[in-house]
């Protein structure tokens, strides 16, 4: 069984949603993760807030952003176990951030150090 990283690309929620909306969105995200964990397929994950974040460029130039195009900033990720990329894609389809138009979840297999990668 492989591990896949599901990377959330979406607008910074705190800029477009009220705290109440954020709370509901958080709850749905936890329900989505809970459903994956209930199948014993959840490995780990983290939200990636934008505050206290920097970008380090070539020649060690440090800036406060930008973190990519507005709709493409990485807001978090989870790692799941799946038999195939298709199974991982099925998990990704339930991700609540996909409710926002233009948002996406990138599904990437994690290299296993098996000599191939």
């Amino acid at each position: 069984m492989d591990q896949f990283m599901l990377i959330f690309r979406h607008e910074d929620g705190t800029k477009i949603a009220s705290p109440e909306q954020m709370q509901i969105w958080m709850k749905h995200t936890m329900d989505w993760i809970g459903a994956i964990a209930a199948q014993n397929k959840y490995v780990g994950g983290n939200g990636l807030p934008f505050d206290n974040s920097k970008i380090v460029w070539h020649n060690n130039v440090v800036t406060n952003g930008p973190f990519g195009d507005v709709k493409e900033t990485v807001g978090g990720y989870i790692i799941v176990k799946a038999d195939s990329v298709d199974e991982a894609v099925e998990f990704a389809k339930g991700c609540p951030i996909l409710g926002g138009e233009g948002n996406s979840v990138e599904v990437r297999r994690i290299a296993t150090g098996d000599g191939v990668h």
Binding site: A35, A37, A38, Y42
Partner: protein, 410 residues
């Protein structure tokens, strides 16, 4: 208390203390000797007391006899080693120091150190539980066999192998250094939880024995809370969890030994004192910044002490299970999460969640599906309950499922 009741009572209370102190004094190489001396002490008590009557202070009497037996043993052992191997003589002065310290402080220290030694990662969990029952709780072989639904011979062998492991792994009887205590506590807590669960979920018909297992697990956990070095948030969380669960002990087993489902329990039988204690230890558990599985399970157990079906209750239940599954997956947590999900989002959505779990070997899975389909599809409900019935292994479980089938509209 007459002689007949007194000795078993003292055995339960004092055997483990004497064994812990002697074991620490002798080391694991001579663990059986420590157990033998403790057993001989009680044998002597049974013989002497029935002839001469019960002494004024029976505990002091036991300690004296145990001390003397241990001293005699150490003296013989000392003579033997000095005769056979005289070159050891230089180092043997310390070994000859044979005062046995049965003071309350040393008893408590010894028991705590034994707990860490027995619950060592090098020892398989099953052996840890067996040894804990024997050494830390003073259970007889027959009682352990009953608790595990096993026989004398199997348990004797298992304990023998466990003792061998303790010796081979060269485990010292001491508290781990402060830097290691959190890691080692993980194993100790896992064993205490296992011990508690053995009592709480055991299929053994002997309810007194089952309750004793739970109480012993709680007593050992309480020892950890009482000691500054081990009074950590997860320990309080585990004790809280045990208190909440144990509060329903009376209510969940009927007079004729049958299991009573949560929804059908008489809430007046719930032990409010234990519920309050559970709440207290849960509060004590909130001091750190790390949330252990015991914190989550204790919080879930707290909500189970609230019988009313409120939106708040099930919202919390679902979120707690979501988090618990992320750090500690278990089939039963997955099923309970799905039940909470049905309470929040309704049965139709929950059925979709349940079908993803793929726990076809587990009768609780089919019981849950049966429950979710109740009122939606009678034929499916019946089919799932039949499948559950086929998979259920114990009589009480089968009885519960049959009851559900009988309640279906025909």
């Amino acid at each position: 208390m007459n002689n007949q009741d007194l000795i078993p009572h003292l055995f339960r209370e004092e055997y483990r203390k004497i064994v812990a102190v002697l074991c620490r004094r002798f080391g694991f190489e001579q663990m059986e000797t420590a157990e033998d001396i403790a057993s001989q002490t009680f044998l002597a008590a049974a013989q002497t007391w029935s002839l001469n009557g019960i002494p004024k202070n029976p505990v002091a009497w036991l300690y004296n006899v145990a001390k003397n037996n241990a001293k005699n043993y150490l003296q013989r052992d000392h003579l033997f080693t000095t005769k056979i191997a005289p070159e050891i003589k230089q180092t043997s002065t310390a070994a000859y120091e044979n005062e046995i310290d049965l003071s309350p402080q040393n008893i408590s220290d010894s028991q705590l150190q034994m707990m860490f030694a027995i619950c060592h990662p090098a020892i398989p969990p099953e052996a840890q539980v067996g040894l804990s029952l024997r050494i830390l709780c003073g259970f007889g072989i027959d009682e352990i066999a009953d608790a595990f639904l096993s026989n004398r011979e199997t348990i004797t062998k298992r304990l023998f192998r466990a003792r061998e492991k303790l010796r081979d792994a060269n485990i010292s009887i001491a508290l781990p250094p402060p830097a290691e205590i959190d890691n080692r506590l993980d194993t100790v807590l896992a064993t205490l939880y296992l011990l508690f669960s053995e009592g709480y979920y055991s299929a053994s018909q002997d309810t007194t024995l089952r309750r004793d297992l739970c109480l012993e697990a709680m007593r050992l956990c309480y020892m950890l809370v009482e000691n500054d070095a081990t009074n950590k948030p997860p320990v309080n969380a585990l004790l809280s969890l045990m208190c909440f669960h144990a509060s329903r002990f009376e209510a969940r087993i009927s007079e004729n030994g049958e299991q009573v489902l949560y929804n059908e329990q008489d809430t007046t039988l719930w032990n409010q004192d234990l519920i309050r204690k559970g709440a207290w230890y849960l509060k004590c558990a909130t001091t750190g910044d790390h949330i252990s599985r015991y914190h989550l399970e204790a919080s879930i157990a707290y909500w189970y002490t609230q019988k009313e079906d409120t939106t708040e209750k099930w919202d919390h239940m679902l979120q707690l299970h979501n988090r618990l599954l992320q750090i500690a997956y278990s089939p039963i947590a997955a099923l309970n999460r799905t039940y909470a999900f049905s309470k929040v989002y309704g049965k139709v959505s929950a059925i979709k969640e349940a079908e993803k779990l793929k726990l076809e070997g587990n009768h609780f899975y089919f019981t849950l599906l049966g429950e979710l389909y109740t009122g939606i599809d009678d034929i499916k409900t019946n089919n799932y309950y039949q499948q559950a019935l086929q998979l259920a292994k114990t009589h009480p479980e089968q009885q519960l499922i049959r009851k559900k089938i009988d309640q279906l509209p025909s």
